[in-house]
Symmetry: C2
Subunit: 158 residues, 2 copies
DNA sequence: GTTCTTGCAAACCCTTTGCACGTCT
DNA sequence: AGACGTGCAAAGGGTTTGCAAGAAC
């Protein structure tokens, strides 16, 4: 039903609606950023996106990349995650819906998992406070089960 | 039942157990940081803590503050949050248990709310992957209902 | 034509690091 | 005594900002 070009068109429409609603301008740069993101299927940082676009000859400045990522986050096309000790990472809201992250506090290992319950709680809580729910970012901190690779074992065995 | 000195003693014991387990040393600085945090009842950043301690004549360096906050986070005495665009914020795990944060993507306003369900999901998910659950940080992104103060209204009314 | 956006580079802020000195065991 | 931790200041990395040139309306 939904071909990949249709999905991109939907994102462009969503972005365009937002820009119009806010009286921001429809610039080529903003749509070039969106197009490039759509071609990715993973988390990425602002700088990774900046470098990849320029490596492809799709010239753009860091300032524009940062500014556009901010707009795309505000209109709910992107989700922004701030993992421990790392730069901000973004991903399309439509990519792998309702997944979250479990991370080891010792070695930083990250596991992605799905939970529809959390999205339900999110929508309910936001509505209770009169907010319009958009998205969420949940990080569970835990200790990794791997005694061999986890730095856990500075001096203990498990 | 639990006086405030008892609560502090429990935290000190928890910290001391962790340091012993890891063969880290029991330094005065580490316990001074813990004592100061215990006296707070709010979120704080590393730099706020550094400044407050030094303003009180409780001299300590930034490097030690950062290092100690990291240890306190790893042993589950503190939770570390990374809110949008801000420096890392910490709070005692025992402060207002099981609460999370709802934030407006437009104006940054933050609402704290309680949900025991999320802690239950956290524990279940961590166990499923064989991890030892510790804590979590959930941020719900939404749009603020206040049309007067939320910057929302660059050009719209609601 | 006016206003907004872009690009560039410098500035900025938070955090980490290197090294000498001090402290814990 | 030896190893680890602290303090200081400088470096580092990600992000934001100021300003001139360019694009959108």
């Amino acid at each position: 039903m939904s071909s990949s070009s249709t999905e991109l068109e939907q994102l462009q429409q969503q972005f365009s609606d937002y820009l119009k609603r806010k009286k921001y301008r429809n610039t080529q740069e903003r749509y070039r950023v969106l197009d490039h993101i759509h071609a990715l299927d993973r988390h990425f940082s602002a700088d990774e996106l900046y470098l990849e676009m320029n490596n492809r000859g799709d010239r753009i400045s860091r300032a524009t990349v940062y500014s556009t990522l901010d707009l795309l986050t505000k209109c709910n096309i992107l989700v922004k995650h701030r993992f421990q000790g790392e730069s901000a990472h973004y991903e399309l809201s439509t990519r792998m819906p309702n997944h979250d992250h479990l991370m080891c506090v010792e070695c930083g290992r990250i596991v992605e998992f799905r939970s529809d319950e959390i999205a339900a709680i999110r929508d309910r809580v936001a509505s209770e406070f009169g907010y319009i729910p958009m998205t969420h970012s949940l990080q569970i901190f835990a200790r990794c089960p791997d005694p061999l690779t986890c730095e856990h074992n500075r001096s203990e065995v498990a």
